[in-house]
């Protein structure tokens, strides 16, 4: 018993079970996440410049917030540009909310909006005039555009700076203005290309918070391209991992979260074989990734006390017990390692 107590003292619980079972801050549970028509559908989509940039992409994604994840040069921005109609596809097709990009390009551009990665603005304009112009170009009347331009500046937190020239804004403010011009007309689909580029931690947190709020409004679906795992994980419910222009992995984070496939990483001293057998009898899925480490997915109804009781009955010492969950980082790294 003393042994078990000391083992408990040594526990390094990274995610407590209570925390792990709580819905994450980014869960868009309040609004329906499934649509009948896929938000984004790629069917053998290829884009070639002087070399293939996107190669035979296939995907059907329904999420409120879709992440395009990949290392630099994976083809994220090219895919966004293709979806926006800036690039011509070489083969295959792509559609947004069921509208083919080639056939209904003009219609699609009427319902999407884009926040580019690089600094983008019109020189010599005040913030509110710039955003108003973008709203008018998206089809809002002059009066409504002005009203919404003011509102959106307050929404992104730049209300006091809205009459300043955009060129005089700091990098963080420019990012927010780019977001403001992208959401001023309330688009159906919002494309964000590296939205947290160059932001300091508070500004980054603020940007991600805004993205989550837009997602949770249910009025706008978001497609984010980023190489930052944390950004994607904190906002997206579906992720397409790209590598060298190909789909390396598709991951439905929302389903992963709902199924709560958490597992324990257990380190023991003693009868490993017997302990594994005992875990299996409790209904756990068990894997042995390496020596003296046991991965176990615990089913509903099995508590930690049952494991301690099992260990006691076999005189096994539990040296370490971690709650783990396949994070996006695990998924991403595996996808990068796979050829």
């Amino acid at each position: 018993m003393t042994e078990i107590s000391s083992s408990v003292d040594n526990l390094s619980v990274e995610d407590s079970p209570e925390e792990a079972q709580q819905p994450p801050e980014n869960t868009a549970a309040k609004k329906p996440t499934k649509l009948r028509v896929p938000v984004l559908e790629l069917d053998r989509l290829s884009v070639t410049f002087d070399r293939p940039i996107l190669d035979n992409l296939n995907a059907k994604m329904y999420g409120n917030c879709i992440g395009l994840l990949g290392p630099n040069g994976a083809g994220k921005t090219t895919l966004l540009n293709t979806l926006l109609g800036f690039n011509r596809r070489t083969t295959g097709r792509a559609s947004i909310l069921g509208h083919d990009l080639t056939i209904e390009n003009h219609f699609v551009r009427g319902m999407v909006s884009y926040m580019p990665e690089r600094d983008s603005f019109i020189s010599g304009m005040s913030g509110v005039r710039f955003v108003r112009m973008m709203a008018e170009l998206s089809g809002l009347s002059s009066k409504v555009a002005l009203e919404r331009a003011h509102e959106v500046f307050f929404y992104v937190g730049l209300g006091e700076a809205r009459y300043r020239n955009v060129e005089s804004f700091s990098l963080g403010m420019k990012q927010l203005v780019k977001l403001a011009q992208a959401i001023v007309h309330g688009p159906r689909i919002l494309f964000l290309d590296e939205p947290t580029n160059g932001l300091d931690p508070p500004a980054r947190a603020r940007m991600l918070q805004l993205i989550r709020e837009i997602r949770d409004s249910g009025d706008t679906q978001i497609i984010i391209a980023s190489h930052l795992l944390q950004d994607i994980e904190s906002c997206c419910d579906e992720v397409l991992v790209l590598k060298d222009g190909k789909v390396a992995k598709y991951c439905n984070l929302e389903e992963e979260r709902r199924s709560n496939k958490q597992f324990l990483l257990i380190q023991i001293r003693g009868d490993e074989q017997g302990f594994v057998e005992g875990l299996r009898k409790l209904g756990c899925e068990v894997a042995l990734p390496n020596r003296r480490r046991i991965k176990a997915i615990i089913p509903q109804g099995v508590e930690i006390q049952h494991l301690y009781a099992l260990a006691e009955s076999l005189s096994v010492q539990i040296r370490n017990l971690d709650y783990k969950r396949d994070s996006l980082e695990d998924i991403f790294l595996r996808a990068m390692e796979e050829d």
Partner: protein, 292 residues
């Protein structure tokens, strides 16, 4: 998305017509032009000549005044196509040239340099709509300083001259409109193409100026060496003069310095210049730059 709520909301209200987006570009670009006091002053100066000419025509037909001023009436030249060409169209063409050189290069290059093209082209407006919106600014302002003030002058002259002058010289209205239109559109497209290529407006202005004057000089040299009218094909000043002479029906003896060039060649010259400029524009105006 009311300010007090500070919450994001989509928009489901009415949308404007697709053609209106081009006029959005036009409206904002026009407003930007008049932010410059220097340009506003220049624009006002452009109207001085038509006002002076209007006064001159009034005086021309005021015999009492001419007698008082002891002017020999027979020495005064007749007011006809040549008069309007030399006193109105030529100077206004020069003003148009200065105006387009000042405004044209500043219209496209800042948008490309500041990476604003993806913002335009991700919206329901395409390249032709964008270019047309910008072109309309120069066409509007150019018209205001060229053929629009020429119209009241014609009518004023026709009213004072009487005797069917207006009916006999109706072609002058057509000449003024067409000449101004050709000059504005071709120079505007060239200035846009140069600014899209160079991307720095000060440099673009120099290049624009250089293309026109070096082209003119080069054309002159070619004509001197090889003869014929081939050299004039790269001299757009010669081209516009030939078109003006033809449309204004001016006696060639009066304007004997004009290039010996067919009107069809001159028209072809402007057509080619516009097409090449449009080609450059469509290649340079793009949402992103491809890096090999």
């Amino acid at each position: 998305m009311a300010i007090f709520q500070k919450a994001y909301q989509g928009y489901s209200g009415p949308l404007t017509k697709p053609m209106d987006r081009t006029f959005v570009i036009f409206r904002y670009a026009l407003a930007d032009v008049f932010q410059s006091r220097l340009f506003s002053a220049f624009f006002a100066v452009c109207f001085l000549l038509p006002i002076l000419l209007m006064c001159f025509i009034y005086v021309f037909y005021n015999l009492e005044f001419l007698v008082q001023m002891e002017v020999d009436i027979e020495e005064l030249t007749e007011i006809d196509g040549s008069f309007f060409l030399l006193t109105m169209q030529y100077p206004q063409n020069f003003m148009l040239f200065v105006m387009i050189m000042a405004l044209g290069p500043a219209m496209i290059s800042p948008d490309i340099r500041n990476n604003a093209m993806p913002l335009f082209l991700s919206r329901p407006i395409n390249k032709p709509g964008y270019i047309l919106g910008k072109l309309l600014v120069l066409l509007f302002l150019g018209s205001l300083v060229s053929w629009v003030p020429a119209l009241p002058l014609f009518f004023w002259q026709g009213y004072l001259a009487g005797g069917g002058w207006l009916g006999d010289n109706l072609h002058l209205i057509f000449a003024s409109i067409v000449t101004s239109f050709i000059w504005i559109v071709s120079l505007s497209l060239l200035s846009f193409a140069v600014s899209a290529w160079v991307q720095w407006k000060a440099v673009a202005r120099l290049v624009f100026f250089g293309i026109l004057f070096f082209g003119s000089a080069f054309g002159g040299v070619v004509t001197e060496i090889f003869g014929g009218s081939g050299g004039h094909m790269v001299n757009i000043f010669a081209g516009i003069e030939v078109i003006m002479r033809d449309l204004y029906r001016v006696d060639s003896n009066l304007l004997d310095w004009l290039a010996d060039m067919k009107v069809s060649y001159a028209l072809l010259q402007f057509f080619l210049l516009s097409m090449i400029s449009l080609l450059v524009l469509t290649r340079r105006i793009r949402a992103f730059q491809v890096v090999s």
